[in-house]
């Protein structure tokens, strides 16, 4: 059931208990976890933090802790599947689920005792009403049986004619009831199918946790910054629409001005070491302040796709663009911080003007930046890229938990070196993505299979180990689809969704398969591949693992790939 008063129904209950925090592996969950940890530290709540990679992991973690702990908080996992069915908990385990995955499973919504959903109800959830799905069928059956048995017991004494009449009437009633029941069931199947068909994401979990902190007036600027990062993560990884992103930015902007207003009041300004958050209408170039402008333009999805930088023509256009802005090449290739002040002064406006001429109307986007100490200035998207790169670091053979802890640490202000390490990893990742996209487009690796586009990354591809992780692969998918849409002339292919496969584990011979919805300006980011993958795997009995919390990401055995794809093609045509 949905929690209405966050403070009374969630925080006041867990504050005196020992809690298990089960956190999924994405940046929004990390930020929500950080905010909740800060609140727990203030009130000295004992908790155990367990990062979970998928459903199996969640199950084992639950089994390990169910003896000692009664309260479980799940962050960005658990809402879209019948949790009680999956975990089989005892009667006294209580689950608080703060998840952005939609649609929320109906059993989770209508369970009154064990499952509390920390989700705002004014998200357009479209939950089907109780009567449409759950049927109290005990009364009806009893009635039917009583009638029939009543007739049979009476029937012995009555003349046969009357009994036949009674029987006919009872029979008719029964047939009528069964017909109504069948109709109801058909309608229920339809309603559930419509409800669960498309997968999408709701408001950021980090924003929800920040609201909890705000309701308790324990919100600090650090928590506000983390909730900004959570929201930006949803936008960077293409989980929410641009409209929703802008609406949420406006909501956060109110909090930012409230915090800033508190400090600007006094004539004595704040120490330079204190954190300052400011609203920026900044460029959509990834990591440009920690890189050179040239590199950033080459490796950001938006600019690279619009210029088509994988072709010679594209490179020429880029040179024209730089010339149009009047930026000398030597300056542009330098580290951003070392560029001349005169060049940096009106950079944003100059770039916006020129990009309008070159057909890029939205080079600027609303975002926030943080500022503390003399050197440290970061945009929200910089931190998202850095944390994602740390979370999915494949350079050293470390387990997911270590990477999780490192990524969690890089969000604190005291671990700036770790953040810089993350930024370097993110640069490598972005370069790898760009090169892979370029090679895929140039070698026509992206093929149309009819109802969708398909691309398979072979094992020998450079940096392919990076793409065995879901976040990196989804970023690659998004960039690839955008690049393809910009480069192809086939109008029909432009509205097709994309399925991508990359090697996951060479020893076990599995690939990770991911599907994303078609690219369009007004896309609502609703993904139907979850159900499609399930059905296709079932019908071909392929060995597929639907382990990930996003149902549109599965792991498949390499040999079953072709029959799986054929099944998908027939399913979706």
């Amino acid at each position: 059931m949905f929690v209405t008063d966050i403070r009374k129904e969630f925080y006041d209950i867990v504050v005196n208990q020992r809690v298990v925090l089960l956190v999924s592996l994405d940046i929004d969950a990390l930020c929500a976890c950080k905010i909740l940890q800060a609140l727990f530290h203030c009130d000295q709540v004992q908790y155990t933090l367990v990062p979970v990679t998928g459903w199996e992991n969640l199950g084992t973690a639950f089994l390990e802790h169910k003896e000692q702990y009664q309260y479980f908080v799940l962050i960005n996992c658990g809402a879209n599947v019948d949790l009680l069915e999956t975990l089989q908990p005892e009667e006294d385990s209580i689950f608080f689920i703060c998840d952005t995955h939609r649609p929320v499973d109906v059993v989770n919504i209508y369970n009154d005792t064990q499952i509390k959903l920390l989700i705002k109800q004014d998200d357009d959830l479209g939950v089907p009403s109780y009567e449409d799905i759950f049927h109290d069928d005990e009364d009806e059956d009893e009635e039917g049986n009583r009638d029939d048995s009543g007739n049979e017991s009476d029937g012995g004494a009555e003349p046969s004619g009357k009994r036949r009449r009674f029987d006919e009437a009872a029979l008719e009633r029964r047939i009528e009831r069964q017909r109504a029941r069948r109709e109801w069931e058909a309608r229920r199947r339809e309603i559930l199918f419509d409800y669960e068909q498309y997968e999408y994401h709701g408001t950021s979990a980090a924003m929800f946790m920040f609201e909890l902190a705000w309701v308790m007036t324990k919100d600090t600027k650090d928590m506000l910054w983390w909730s900004i990062i959570g929201l930006t993560d949803q936008w960077v990884h293409d989980k929410i629409t641009h409209m929703k992103y802008v609406t949420d930015i406006v909501a956060l902007q109110r909090h930012v001005s409230r915090h800033n207003h508190r400090n600007e009041d006094e004539e004595n300004s704040l120490s330079i070491d204190c954190i300052r958050i400011s609203f920026e209408y900044d460029l959509r170039l990834a990591l440009y302040q920690h890189w050179s402008l040239y590199e950033s333009i080459c490796n950001s999805c938006y600019t690279s796709c619009n210029f088509k930088l994988w072709s010679i023509n594209g490179q020429k256009k880029l040179q024209e663009f730089l010339a149009d802005m009047g930026l000398p090449l030597k300056q542009v290739r330098q580290k951003f911080n070392s560029m001349d002040i005169s060049v940096k002064e009106n950079l944003r406006e100059v770039i916006e003007e020129s990009s309008n001429k070159f057909g890029m109307k939205d080079i600027r986007v609303q975002t926030f930046s943080v500022h503390f100490g003399f050197k440290n200035r970061f945009l929200a998207s910089d931190v998202v890229h850095a944390a994602a790169a740390l979370l999915e670091n494949v350079e050293k053979e470390e387990c997911a938990t270590d990477n999780f802890i490192k990524a969690l640490d890089c969000l604190s202000r005291s671990n700036i070196e770790r953040l810089h390490v993350g930024i370097d990893l993110a640069k490598k990742k972005l370069k790898a993505i760009q090169q892979t996209v370029a090679s895929c487009i140039c070698t026509n690796l992206l093929l149309s299979q009819g109802p969708f586009l398909y691309c398979h990354l072979l094992e020998g591809t450079p940096d392919v180990k990076l793409f065995s992780k879901p976040l990196a692969l989804s970023l690659l998918c998004k960039y690839l689809l955008k690049a393809f849409v910009c480069s192809t002339r086939n109008k029909r292919c432009k509205v097709l969704p994309l399925i991508m496969a990359a090697p996951r584990d060479v020893d076990k011979g599995t690939v990770i398969v991911l599907g994303i919805p078609p690219e369009s300006e007004t896309s609502d980011k609703k993904n139907f591949f979850g159900r499609a993958f399930e059905k296709a795997a079932e019908s071909t009995s392929s060995r597929a693992l639907h382990d990930h919390f996003d149902t549109s990401i599965i792991e498949l055995k390499m040999e079953d790939r072709s029959k799986f794809l054929d099944a998908l093609i027939t399913l979706l045509s």
Binding site: H41, C42, D43, Q44, N263, L270, S271, I272, D273, C274
Partner: protein
């Protein structure tokens, strides 16, 4: 003595805080801590003030001497005099560091205060070094060090004691007629 030990001793000093919670009087071994009422200032030791601040349960009121103008006067006086001038608080360095690291948002003009305190510290340490140098070099028998804080003494303690010991040994060996058969 380790500087962290000196800092630990400094945490016993009292500072005023304004809590946002209420609690009855608590009786600790070191003394009683008065009842806490939201919005009313209460005196607590620094260690408790920092803990409450980190848990967002209070606001710290900077001590009276932690004011940019007052510290500037003290700095000027320190620079003029040769001897050590009276110090704002006997743990001024540690308290500045602790309060500015954890509660910089409660203290106005925090950056200036940090610079001023550092200047005062530098001047005093320079005087101390000069004095120690003269003491050891000219083999004086006694020195007068008023108004030194524990932290400053601690910086010079190791060097001064070791060098004076060595000087004493060398001087003892210079005495004629004393046979040293080692």
């Amino acid at each position: 003595m380790d500087p962290s030990e000196v800092e630990f001793l400094a945490e016993k000093e009292t500072v005023k805080v304004i809590p946002n919670f209420s609690l009855d009087k608590i009786y600790l071994i070191g003394g009683d801590l008065g009842p806490f009422n939201p919005g009313l200032p209460v005196d607590v030791p620094v260690w408790l003030a920092l803990n409450l601040k980190q848990r967002q349960k209070c606001r710290i009121v900077p001590p009276e001497w932690m004011d940019a103008d007052k510290l500037e006067e003290i700095r000027e006086q320190e620079r003029k005099e040769d001897a050590f001038s009276p110090v704002p608080s006997c743990h001024y360095m540690e308290l500045t560091k602790l309060l500015l690291n954890h509660a910089a948002d409660d203290i106005p003009r925090a950056d200036e205060i940090r610079t001023l305190v550092k200047d005062i510290w530098d001047t005093r340490i320079a005087k101390l070094r000069l004095s120690a140098d003269r003491f050891v070099g000219q083999q004086e028998a006694h020195a007068r060090l008023d108004n030194l804080t524990l932290m400053e003494i601690n910086t010079t303690r190791d060097f001064l004691l070791d060098s004076l010991n060595s000087m004493h040994k060398l001087r003892a060996n210079l005495q004629p007629g004393k046979s040293q058969d080692y």
